[in-house]
């Protein structure tokens, strides 16, 4: 049993940490709401957002980001469920080799693959297309996603699959009716993580789709917007940054409960 003092001290530390974490966030929102120099508005204003939206072309880049993020999340989630099932439940023969291979994918720094990826995509003519961003990110999400699902499936009692096989289910039906529905919350948590990660990806976008505005993702166009044009108006750039971050924040708030319960599931059981 913790004493009152300990509880108070603990909360103070947490509040302090929360303030540090929230500070940049709050300050950028406040800045985005402040009238830019030369503006006629007084008090709080939304005109920075309107300016950023119209001048920065964010409507296109947000759609691009969404296309890339959803494609990556969908393909990775489906592939990870299938791979996790084969590796952890069906005890696929070469599983150790596959896990070792995936491990390489986990430990390799992402910067190390950029040059080979550039060469590959330029030789295949896929530079400056959605593929240049979608394919490598599926590949880089897959190791973690596969470990995640394999680990989740391995925690479930074997007797479920055994009972289902006696009930007349084949391997695919066991996945379809038992493992996939039971893994749903793990898949959702995983999808959230991959979505955050993919949405914020900048380096690959910068190198692999520099010349085609039509496919550029939001973080990239934010960077171009900030770097090339409006350095004199930090309030508009702040508004642009908020616009780019907004979908992720919204997604997080909507999925927060699921996300937390998914993360905690293994720990509490």
């Amino acid at each position: 049993m913790e004493s009152r003092k300990e509880v108070i001290a603990g909360h103070l530390v947490l509040i302090f940490g929360a303030l540090i974490a929230l500070h940049p966030f709050v300050s950028i929102i406040l800045q985005a709401l402040t009238p830019a120099p030369g503006s006629t508005a007084t008090g709080w204003t939304l005109e920075n957002f309107i300016g950023a939206w119209t001048r920065g072309g964010f409507s296109q880049s947000l759609v691009n980001s969404a296309i890339v993020a959803f494609a990556v999340v969908f393909v990775t989630a489906v592939a990870a469920v299938l791979a996790g099932y084969v590796l952890s439940v069906l005890k696929f023969r070469w599983r150790v080799a596959v896990f070792a291979l995936l491990m390489i994918g986990l430990v390799l720094p992402s910067e190390a693959r950029i040059i080979p990826l550039y060469n590959f995509f330029s030789s295949t003519g896929l530079l400056n297309t959605y593929w240049a961003l979608i394919l490598p990110q599926i590949a880089s999400s897959l190791p973690l996603a596969t470990f995640w699902m394999a680990n989740y499936f391995a925690q479930l009692p074997n007797s479920l699959a055994e009972a289902a096989s006696l009930d007349g289910a084949g391997e695919f039906e066991i996945l379809r009716y038992i493992y996939a529905p039971l893994g749903l919350s793990a898949v959702l948590t995983l999808s959230c993580l991959i979505f955050l990660y993919t949405w914020n990806e900048f380096m690959l976008a910068l190198v692999l789709m520099p010349d085609n505005v039509a496919v550029q993702t939001a973080p990239l166009s934010l960077s171009f917007f900030a770097g090339n044009e409006r350095t004199t108006e930090p309030e508009v750039i702040a508004a642009a940054a908020v616009l780019v971050a907004l979908p992720v924040v919204l997604a997080y708030f909507f999925l927060q409960r699921r996300f937390m319960s998914g993360l905690l599931e293994g720990a509490v059981k």
Binding site: P157, S159, E162, A163, A164, S165, L166, D167, G168, A169
Partner: protein, 351 residues
Amino acid sequence: MASVEIRNLRKSYATTHVIKDVSIDVDDGQFVVLVGPSGCGKSTLLRMIAGLETISGGEVQIDGAVMNAVPPKERDIAMVFQNYALYPHMTVAENMGFSLKLKKVSKAEIRAKVERAADILSLSHLLDRRPKQLSGGQRQRVAMGRAIVRDPKVFLFDEPLSNLDAKLRVQMRTEIKALHQRLGSTMVYVTHDQIEALTMADKIVLMNDGRVEQMGPPLELYDRPANLFVASFIGSPSMNFFDGTIENGAFRTTSGVVLPLAQIPSGAEGRPLVYGIRPEHLQLGGAGGVAVEVAVIEPAGSETQLYGKLGTDDLVGVFRERLSARPGESVTVTPSSEQVHLFDKATGNRL
């Protein structure tokens, strides 16, 4: 319904031999109980019948067809697991109807079959609940319901009652037995509880260390145990054993007490033997009785248990009468000589 034949079955993990040459016949409609101490291979044997474990040697046949290479889903066997293995994301009705759904049976027919099974097991009011929202006993019933709905060739049970409290265990024991009588199906039931085995079985298979020690109707194992292991495993409290030899037509224990014998098997004289007598086959008093020094007396209402010493050996007695002797005092007990079991000390086998 079906018969199951197990022929010279073996199971090894690398160098450990878990099942060593086991042969068992289960007749159509029979209730066979596999019983034995923990780790003797009961679950392994059951899972080999179900097809959940590979077979290292020998054969499993169902209705005369060899099953060794047939996957579990084609064996038409239902199994009730110790932890029940209910599908946590499905309701009770969905759990019970799952096998029929896989067989593409129509929704109406599934509903009808599930309701009939739920009725037998008094689960009708729980059909829309999830397994999490059920008590242990209710889960156990759902697991049975899932088996009944399928109307399989063979039912397998792996210690289905071991997670229940004592009272519920006795109740479910009766229910399973009643279910067997009602369905008339072939059932193989694993337990490590000899009382469950004695009360439920048409035929007991007593296993030890991967082998069958004795197989037969319950009372045969009780009345004529084939060896010391069977004699000590079946019956509660366990049979009393006294080492000694036969001299001058009577049994003399190593501590010099003389115990009565009804008849002396030929060739028994002069070699080390074990004299076995069940606690319930001792009588208080009587001529030719022996003196027992009382250690503890446990009255249990309908009967009284006596723990004491016969010479240097421990002795347990169970009596209908009440006993007023105090610890340290001596009481006279007489083994009923018709109920004595004699075993060869060297081999452990019955004479």
